[in-house]
């Protein structure tokens, strides 16, 4: 079995080949071919990932060294891949969900020109490659390469329909926001190099895990972890850098599912879970992570309550769920966070793909006020979407219940207040998801007649991924059944335990009594259920009123005016400074200097030209004066 570890390089290389093929031959390749190459390479990577999963199951960690990437004096950074349990979980999510989304895309993007179609698959493959590089790198530099790669692909895919200026701006916004985060990440890496002299996971973690050899002071660790978290804020859309993610919905829907829900945005979670030992050593950073995560979860959930665009609701729900994952990381429930990444990948990808199926059927209509009653027309989409809603609302025994419960239990062990706010967020999640469900699928159809005539169930390439993901959304949580239900039921915890071993030796694991845990679960489930039923009841009878929202509703509908706030305090001042620099510094200062040199030479030459009078006497006078000058210089200087 361990032979497979010699071939782990194939996992990222396959999508890279797919990218090169589709990208270079995009004008020649047919749509079918591009689809097969694009999906096939990811499927191949998925198959290898399964084998890798089984070979690292016993607790093995495999590091493969390929070549020295940077070799300066004492600093050696190798191009190394590392596969362990955490990596293999992410490999399965990325390639598995990625493959389903590739298949889905072959149908969803069928209206594109062949060369755009191939370009789309090339970008998707490049994205999968970068993401695999991110999770497989054995040091922070390789991770950073993947980190930047996914940011680039995100930009390319959000602005895939680049003829629309709004979409382009959304891509630009995502890129800039991510760059702000990346800057923090880079600083953290430099700090590590200065203090530890290595960016290799093993060397860094082994050095800091033992108090005696630890080269980092508490200040260093706190600084590094906070800077890393700035990187995670950008990539995983946390306050204050979350505003790019809802705008990123400008991209094609499968892209939203793959990048902005299932994989790329979880890069921050992966990075912190990978650096768990550093965070365990920096309690201040952990608290910051938990508070930011919780605040994001609540803020995004409140915004999602009032959104009317089907993808925007899902986008804010993604931001909110990512907040939960950070809450889990912040309270030390690393397994819970990774578990939630996994279940979230299933149900959120499913929700986005279901939304894509709806948008496809509604001829690109995204406003849920114009939908309703789609249950009759799209049975498969309807059922799968409903299952995903149950999963995200945390209803037992769907997958979301287990992972969310684990995070909330971890939060309760840290502080009951965190738990209380977390539950409030979960209740809101149940409410807005079922508002979305009821307005889309129940009640009467509120769209135009033309749209109604066009309604149809989507083709097999779309429903197939939906069904697979629906099954995973239902049963995906069963790998992490908590201790109270079944002894040794938490398979994922056992599987991941080697990764978090160093952290667990430092901190004592909080164990809640079974009765407390039952009460916590019961409370959150009952409250969520009430919200769910209320939303179901109220919005299945939704009628278009055309009334403007007022008061708090209006604030929520406008996303707390955060975009406007950023616009006022950052974008506008930057633009006015730029305008000042352009008008004054550039035009008057630099241009003035450059033109001034030209003008001075011009004027000077015109004056000197007059010496050339053609009068012999004047020349001779000049000559004599020159000679006299030389004499004077000779005598007195």
């Amino acid at each position: 079995m361990s032979n497979i570890l010699k071939f782990i390089w194939l996992i990222p290389v396959l999508p890279l080949l797919g990218f090169l093929f589709n990208g270079l031959a995009r004008k020649q390749v047919s749509k079918t071919m591009a689809g097969i190459i694009g999906s096939g390479t990811v499927l191949g990577a998925f198959c290898i990932s399964i084998l890798v999963f089984f070979s690292v199951k016993g607790g093995n960690t495999h590091v493969a060294h390929y070549f020295n990437f940077i070799d300066i004096n004492s600093l050696k950074i190798g191009f190394d891949f590392q596969v362990d349990q955490l990596t293999s979980i992410f490999l399965l999510i990325i390639t598995g969900v990625g493959f389903l989304i590739h298949v889905y895309s072959t149908a969803y993007m069928h209206g594109e020109e062949p060369k755009d179609f191939a370009k789309y698959f090339a970008y998707l493959n490049l994205f999968v490659f970068s993401m695999l590089l991110l999770v497989m790198g054995a040091n922070y530099v390789i991770m950073f390469m993947g980190w930047e790669g996914v940011g680039l692909c995100s930009y390319l895919l959000i602005g895939f329909w680049f003829k629309n200026t709004d979409f382009n701006n959304a891509g630009k916004k995502a890129f800039v926001m991510n760059r702000i985060g990346d800057f923090g990440f880079l600083l953290a890496v430099f700090w590590l190099i200065v203090k530890v002299g290595s960016v290799d996971y093993h060397q860094v973690f082994d050095a800091v895990a033992v108090a005696k050899t630890n080269p980092l002071t508490t200040f260093d660790v706190t600084g590094i972890t906070l800077l890393l978290f700035v990187g995670a804020m950008g990539k995983s859309a946390q306050i204050p850098l979350y505003t790019w993610l809802p705008d990123a919905m400008a991209g094609p829907t499968p892209v939203s599912a793959l990048i902005h829900a299932a994989t790329m945005v979880t890069a921050g979670i992966y990075m912190i879970a990978r650096s768990n030992i550093l965070y365990t050593l920096a309690p201040v950073s952990q608290n910051v992570v938990a508070i930011i995560g919780l605040a994001t979860a609540i803020l995004a959930a409140t915004i999602a309550l009032k959104q009317n665009d089907i993808k925007k609701v899902l986008a804010y729900s993604t931001v909110s769920q990512l907040g939960y994952m950070f809450l889990g990381l912040g309270v030390g429930a690393f397994t819970g966070a990774v578990f939630h990444v996994m279940t979230h990948a299933f149900f959120k990808a499913l929700l986005f793909l279901g939304a894509g199926s709806v948008i496809h059927a509604m001829s690109n209509e995204q406003d849920i006020r114009n939908m309703g009653g789609l249950k009759r027309y799209m049975p498969v989409t309807h059922i799968t979407f409903l299952l995903a809603c149950f999963a995200i609302a945390g209803m037992p025994p769907f997958s979301g219940f287990f992972s969310k419960d684990e995070i909330l239990a971890g939060a309760f062990a840290k502080s009951p207040l965190l738990w209380g706010i977390g539950v409030a967020g979960a209740v809101m999640t149940a409410f807005y998801m079922f508002r979305l469900y009821a307005m889309t699928f129940l009640g009467k159809f509120r769209g135009t007649e033309k749209q109604e005539g066009h309604l149809h169930e989507s083709p097999k390439a779309i429903t197939f991924p939906l069904i697979i993901l629906a099954i995973l959304s239902v049963i995906g949580g069963w790998v992490g059944i908590p201790e109270v239900f079944m002894h040794d039921g938490h398979l994922l915890d056992d599987f991941l335990s080697p990764v978090f071993e160093q952290s667990n030796t430092i901190t004592q694991k909080h164990v809640l009594t079974h009765s407390t845990e039952y009460i916590l679960m019961g409370t959150s489930v009952v409250l969520a259920l009430i919200a769910l039923l209320y939303a179901w009841n109220r919005f299945s009878k939704y009628q278009k009123t055309g009334k403007e929202e007022a008061g708090l509703g209006k604030v929520l509908e406008n996303k707390w005016y955060v975009d406007e706030l950023y616009d006022a305090i950052i974008v506008k001042p930057v633009l006015s400074v730029a305008r000042y620099l352009n008008n004054v510094m550039e035009k008057k200062g630099i241009d003035g200097f450059v033109n001034g040199v030209g003008k001075a030479i011009n004027y000077g030459s015109r004056q000197i030209r007059l010496l050339q009078s053609g009068q012999v006497g004047a020349y001779i006078l000049m000559m004599v004066l020159g000679i006299l000058l030389f004499f004077i210089m000779q005598l007195y200087l």
Partner: protein
Amino acid sequence: MEIKWYIGLAVALFCTGVVGVLVRRNSIIIFMCIELMLNAVNLLLVAFSKMHASSPAAIADPSIVSNAQIFVFFIMVVAAAEVSVGLAIIVMLYRNTRSVDVNFLNRLKH
């Protein structure tokens, strides 16, 4: 006679020549002024040669004395040749412009 008188005379002649070249426009007079400068230098050469030849070192070892007096004759010969060329130019100038005013020569630039 002391050397300073020779030097004074030579400088006076030279300055007369320079001023003449600067202020006069008649090319023949300019030409004569140039000759004046040349001969001022010649005079200096002869004077210095004589001074060196009568120094105690030269009396002890006459072989170090250079025959600048002879050298001056060469200069005169070359100057005579130069005068013939210069006068020829002035004659040609006069034939072309019916004038010996050097300021007419600025027309060369067109």
